[in-house]
């Protein structure tokens, strides 16, 4: 199992109600349903991914994340998951604030654009970084926002969002030393 999934499964209490924003093919949701007896649903933009979710027996809604949250009442879900999807939305601040309204806890997974390899590429090659974790060229990237783990921490602080847990990840291992430099990704458990 992917390390980020394992950590998310660890963050989520059993039998919780979970909304996965940008749930992809539904792998994480089916793990949460199977391993943690969660009740889960997802929102996903890709039509192909929707078919895979339905195949897995997951209830899923086709649409974009920017407009998908307003239908839900306050604190409807125990957890809202935004794993590798927040950097792809048009209005990430609004999506996060809405998520904090609809969910009691939020789990956010982001790619770290200040990973050391990316920093080296900018510094020495003078090019926008393309790494195994950020494999896209500037013209074909689905990522609309470029941020580091530190940027995200500042954002939480400024918006009075409490970070309950945080972990940096790289190549399927946890990075505890200077994650903003050495981690490819970060996972945050948030509440407000």
């Amino acid at each position: 199992m992917r390390l980020d999934y394992r950590i998310i499964l660890d963050y989520v209490s059993p039998k919780s109600k979970v909304l996965d924003l940008g749930c992809g093919d539904g792998t994480l949701l089916s793990l949460l349903i199977r391993e943690k007896s969660c009740r889960g649903t997802g929102i996903e933009l890709s039509e192909e991914s929707i078919y895979k979710c339905v195949e897995k027996g997951i209830s899923v809604s086709h649409g974009d994340l920017d407009s998908g949250l307003s239908d839900y009442s306050d604190k409807r879900f125990d957890y809202i998951i935004l794993n590798e999807s927040l950097q792809q939305v048009l209005n990430p601040k609004k999506v996060l604030i809405e998520s904090l309204r609809v969910g009691k806890n939020i789990i956010v997974g982001i790619p770290n654009f200040c990973y050391w390899r990316a920093r080296l590429q900018i510094f020495f090659r003078g090019r926008v970084p393309v790494t195994s974790e950020l494999p896209y060229e500037w013209y074909d990237t689905p990522n609309l926002r470029f941020l580091s783990l530190k940027d995200f921490r500042y954002f939480c602080q400024e918006n009075s969002i409490t970070i309950l847990k945080e972990v940096g990840l790289s190549q399927n291992q946890i990075i505890s030393v200077r994650p903003n430099l050495f981690a490819n990704n970060g996972l945050f458990l948030l509440t407000k």
């Binding site: 039509e47 078919y51 086709h62 239908d71």
Partner: protein
């Protein structure tokens, strides 16, 4: 059953609501007796938990799948229903019934009024989608089914599934709503009205009293042509016909048919007249125009009565029942904490996309039904 075996089916009939126990219609009129034509496919399991009610659209009938003995054309949703298909008759017991007001075996304006011995014509009462569903409920009771695994339909069939989910929330596990609106809007009413005017301005219509005489064939054919245009898309018509000419090399510079699309529509109109009653078209199209879940309450309040799971499907090129109308339902269902899945399928076939052989529709239906039966068994 082997795949190569023809799937032979038969229409059956059930009569209920005999006086004095008539059905009270939404208009307040008491009406009976009511006969419903229906077909069933597959076997009802001993727990009676595998029944799926399939509801048809405006011009549909009870013959949804398989072949009638000697027929070369299968039922209207044979691409989806049958052994090994998405709605798998090896697993599920499928019921399909003709709506009241119809002309394919259920009581409608062309049926004989037992009081007069003559066809009802316009003395047939106005029926609504709710009335159709109430009549179906009698059939489902007759078949001994307490809870349907799913009520499923496209277009007007979806309207019926919606009405089921609100009128009889505890009688269904899931509602499958394809290319449907919660409320007929002005454009939808407008197209129906043009079709009705085409029928009613045909001199042969005779205020609906044409049975045994010349039928208003021209009016009904035009009504069908208008309908057919709205069921296709710009894209699908362009692909199918473009500006291709019919049986000629150059334009005729007269009012004979020049284009393939003209001849196709005429053919669809003329063949429809052979199988459909003009008054039924008037009644059923009116029932669609009256359909409005939001008549008395907001959609969120209306769905607060619902208990089932929902699968909502729309198509990108459906401009008659556009996706925003499906999304409106999805939002209201979510607000009520109901289990809802929604997908907008990319298709160029327009409103009729659900009727054509569409692997996405089949994929979604088979997997969704598998999940719903599993949840039902788990409870």
């Amino acid at each position: 059953m082997k795949k190569s075996d023809p799937f032979i089916v038969e229409t059956q009939y059930y009569t209920c609501c005999d006086p004095p126990d008539e059905l009270v219609l939404q208009s307040g009129v008491k009406f009976g007796p009511i006969t419903l034509a229906y077909e069933t496919y597959g076997e009802l399991n001993p727990e009676k938990s595998n029944a799926i009610l399939v509801c048809h659209a405006l011009s549909g009938d009870a013959h949804a799948a398989g072949y009638h003995e000697g027929d070369t054309k299968p039922g209207w949703w044979d691409v989806v229903i049958g052994p090994g298909k998405a709605i798998d008759t090896d697993k599920y017991f499928v019921i399909s019934s003709n709506v009241i007001g119809g002309c394919k075996g259920s009581t409608g304006p062309s049926s004989v009024n037992p009081d007069t011995g003559k066809p009802y014509g316009l003395s047939f009462p106005m029926v609504t989608i709710d009335d159709m569903v109430d009549a179906q409920r009698h059939l489902i009771d007759h078949l001994g089914i307490k809870k349907l695994l799913a009520v499923c339909g496209g277009s007007m069939g979806g309207s019926q599934a919606l009405a089921w989910s609100i009128r009889y929330p505890d009688c269904l596990q899931s509602a499958i709503i394809i290319a449907t609106t919660p409320c007929h809007n002005a454009q939808q009413i407008a197209f129906n009205e043009v079709a009705r005017q085409a029928i009613m301005s045909d001199p042969d219509w005779q205020e609906g009293d044409y049975y045994g005489k010349t039928i208003p064939a021209r009016g009904l054919a035009v009504a069908r042509m208008i309908g057919h245009i709205t069921y296709m898309s710009d894209q699908s018509m362009e692909k199918k016909f473009g500006r291709k000419l019919i049986g000629k090399e150059r334009l005729g510079y007269d009012f004979n048919q020049d284009f393939q699309v003209e001849s196709y529509l005429k053919y669809r109109g003329d063949s429809f007249v052979q199988r459909f009653d003009a008054n039924s078209w008037l009644y059923i199209s009116k029932s669609l125009d009256y359909f409005n879940l939001k008549a008395e309450q907001s959609l969120v309040e209306v769905f607060s009565k619902a208990r089932s799971s929902f699968l909502i499907v729309s198509f990108t090129s459906d401009w008659l029942y556009p996706t925003y109308q499906s999304k409106e339902m999805v939002r209201a269902l979510k607000s009520n904490d109901l289990d809802v899945s929604f997908i907008e399928i990319n298709s160029s076939y327009g409103h009729d996309a659900f009727l054509v052989d569409n692997k996405e529709v089949s994929h979604i239906l088979s997997h969704y039904l598998a999940r719903i039966s599993k949840t039902l068994n788990a409870v």
